[in-house]
């Protein structure tokens, strides 16, 4: 069972089944040694997962359990109070039980985040697919410089582009009212996801055998027909994977949204940042509950791609 699942979850299958024989025997040799390695692996697992574990369990802990030393490593009593604080806070009220100020606007922030993410994924997917098809399937003047440019733009640290975008939004494009509006964030995010999407989709499209398309053309399909009937289904996994990556990076981004929107409108990440700014002590329970809720979509989608596509280096684009 676990053997059968293994190639699915690892990014790339370890080795063909036939090669596994001597290798397995080699590593399985000596039960004591094996359990030492396993113990080491398990302790690394515990250390790595602990911050995530701490976030989730603290989200369910009542304030009295969070605000104590020594801490409860295994939660004693559970509560949903932190989640209701994070989600339902009404403007101007404070949480009665702990006296901690809460911040309104979770749902409107969630709505804004959804609008942003949906627009970014939708728009950039379409135009990136066009460009990727062009550079993968045709030879034309300016093709190579275009590809090189896509690679380079991906490598410029995002933070280096913050100031240029902020400055041009406030001067050259002042008339478009991008600062303080969701449209500004959407436009900025599209630019970040485009190079990565074009580059990845190009790889997917190039791997489609030319014969398949030619066969379709011989059967009387037009260029467009062949494109829709043959190319599109074959690149569908690529489209899904790149959309998910674009989704995750847009969902996780904070500093561009914070700089462009300037507090007029909030995204979920801005909401999360705002939670820490109370003047009556930091409401860790609420923050951890909100963190858990907000990271859930990112984690779920990440797991989906991780299992479905051998993504290796391309996934690097997701790193904050």
């Amino acid at each position: 069972m676990s053997q059968a699942m293994q190639p699915e979850i690892a990014p790339v299958p370890v080795a063909p089944a036939a090669d596994l024989g001597p290798k397995r025997r080699f590593y399985k040799r000596g039960g004591f040694r094996q359990s030492l390695w396993n113990a080491l692996g398990l302790s690394i697992f515990l250390v790595m997962i602990f911050p995530v574990y701490w976030m989730v369990t603290s989200a369910f802990k009542p304030a009295r359990s969070i605000q104590k030393q020594p801490p409860d490593f295994i939660p004693k009593d559970w509560t949903l109070y932190n989640f209701s604080q994070a989600v339902h806070c009404k403007p101007g009220t404070t949480g009665a039980a702990s006296g901690v100020a809460c911040q309104p606007g979770f749902w409107s922030a969630a709505g804004n985040s959804l609008i942003i993410v949906a627009s970014v994924v939708g728009i950039s997917l379409v135009i990136a697919f066009f460009a990727a098809a062009a550079v993968a399937k045709f030879r034309f003047f300016g093709r190579r410089p275009f590809i090189v440019l896509m690679v380079f733009i991906q490598l410029v640290p995002g933070i280096a582009l913050l100031l240029p975008i902020y400055l041009s939004f406030s001067t050259t494009f002042r008339g478009l009212n991008l600062l303080g509006h969701l449209s500004g964030v959407i436009v900025a995010y599209i630019v970040f996801s485009l190079p990565f999407m074009i580059w990845t989709l190009r790889g997917f499209i190039m791997n489609i055998p030319r014969d398949l398309e030619e066969a379709a053309m011989v059967d009387g399909a037009t260029e467009l027909g062949a494109f829709i009937k043959i190319l599109l289904p074959l690149v569908a996994p690529g489209l899904v994977a790149t959309s998910i990556f674009a989704f995750i990076s847009a969902w996780n981004e904070w500093i561009f949204a914070a700089t462009i929107l300037r507090g007029n409108t909030q995204t979920l990440m801005m909401f999360l940042y705002g939670l820490g700014g109370g003047n009556q002590g930091i409401p860790w329970g609420t923050i951890m509950a909100a963190s858990t809720l907000i990271s859930l979509p990112a984690v779920v989608f990440f797991m989906l791609v991780q299992r479905r596509v051998a993504f290796g280096l391309t996934a690097g684009a997701v790193r904050g």
Binding site: I9, F130, A160, T172, M288, A298, V318
Partner: protein
């Protein structure tokens, strides 16, 4: 490379002396929307920034639409600012620490993967993917909570272990501990990518050779340096270069660590310097110049990486 978009066995197209155009106007039409967006939201902003870096433009000039050119004055101000130079060397040292503490443990975990039973490996992989998926602001919050002055669980653990003398302890009060905290969180979140990618590349190591070396009496270390490492080298090179580029651009992890952007000058690495000068203080011209210098500092690493990447492309020979 193990997991690149094009498999290693791909047939190379015969090289043409000159690319013949195919598809007429169609490819231009297909590329146009992307090119237009990139031009407007990347090209124009970068041009704007270069213009600003050569202009006098502060908060009080914000209503003027035409910047007032004053040549390289911003750059000379910048180069005379000791804070800029300290931010620069701090950026390099900080980046080196992050890369080292991400890549070495990552490589170690990748090698460990090959020794583990399947169920432990699955568990560890799943755990690593969880960590990998954490949004940056979320893990900064988690680490802030772990090291909270009063209720931080790390403080408790370190106190019990005798590593710190008092239970109440604020990490960011001491500069090196503050940096250590940021390096720790970057190493933590960066390790999964390195470990999983390297593990994928490890499957390319020919097991016959490893077996043969073992039969010939080679030690584990010897086998690692003579057989495994050379096979891993291309992947490791790419991973190191990528980590350098990423860790050079670390911003949010430091910025969000402090209350509402009040970052002590000891923690000013270049991106913070740029942001504080330009966005927070309104010295747009100076900030633009600093931002350009930052891009110049990053460029060599980017060029190295782009060359590695493009060299692998079959239609790029």
């Amino acid at each position: 490379m193990a997991a690149g978009p094009s498999p290693n066995g791909k047939v190379k197209r015969p090289r043409r002396v000159k690319e013949r155009n195919t598809g007429g106007w169609l490819p231009y039409g297909l590329v146009l929307p992307s090119a237009l967006v990139m031009f407007l939201v990347l090209g124009v902003p970068i041009y704007t920034m270069v213009r600003f870096s050569l202009s006098r433009y502060d908060l009080q000039d914000i209503l003027k639409h035409v910047p007032h050119y004053w040549g390289l004055t911003n750059f000379s101000t910048l180069f005379h600012d000791s804070l800029f130079w300290s931010a620069t060397w701090k950026t390099y040292v900080f980046m080196a620490a992050c890369v080292l503490l991400t890549v070495v443990p990552g490589l170690f975990v990748a090698l460990l993967f090959t020794k583990l039973s399947t169920w432990v490996r699955l568990l560890l992989t799943t755990g690593l993917v969880f960590v990998w998926a954490m949004p940056v602001l979320v893990y900064v919050n988690i680490f802030k909570f772990l090291t909270d002055r009063e209720f931080g669980v790390l403080n408790y653990v370190f106190f019990k272990l005798g590593l710190q003398s008092e239970l109440l302890h604020k990490w960011t009060d001491s500069t090196w501990q503050g940096y250590l905290l940021v390096v720790l969180m970057i190493a933590w979140v960066g390790l999964p990518f390195i470990a999983i990618t390297t593990y994928a590349a490890l499957s390319q190591v020919p097991q016959e050779l490893v077996e043969a070396a073992r039969v010939d009496g080679a030690t584990g270390f010897r086998t690692f340096f003579a057989i495994t490492l050379p096979v891993l080298k291309p992947t490791l090179m790419i991973l190191v270069t990528l980590s350098i580029i990423w860790d050079f651009g670390v911003f949010v992890q430091l910025y969000a660590l402090f209350e509402s952007g009040a970052i002590p000058e000891a923690y000013w690495i270049l991106p913070i310097y740029v942001y504080q000068n330009a966005v927070a203080l309104g010295h747009y011209g100076l900030g633009a110049a600093a931002s350009l210098m930052f891009v110049v500092f990053t460029a060599p690493f980017g060029i190295v990486y782009a060359r590695q990447l493009l060299r692998q492309q079959s239609d790029f020979a």
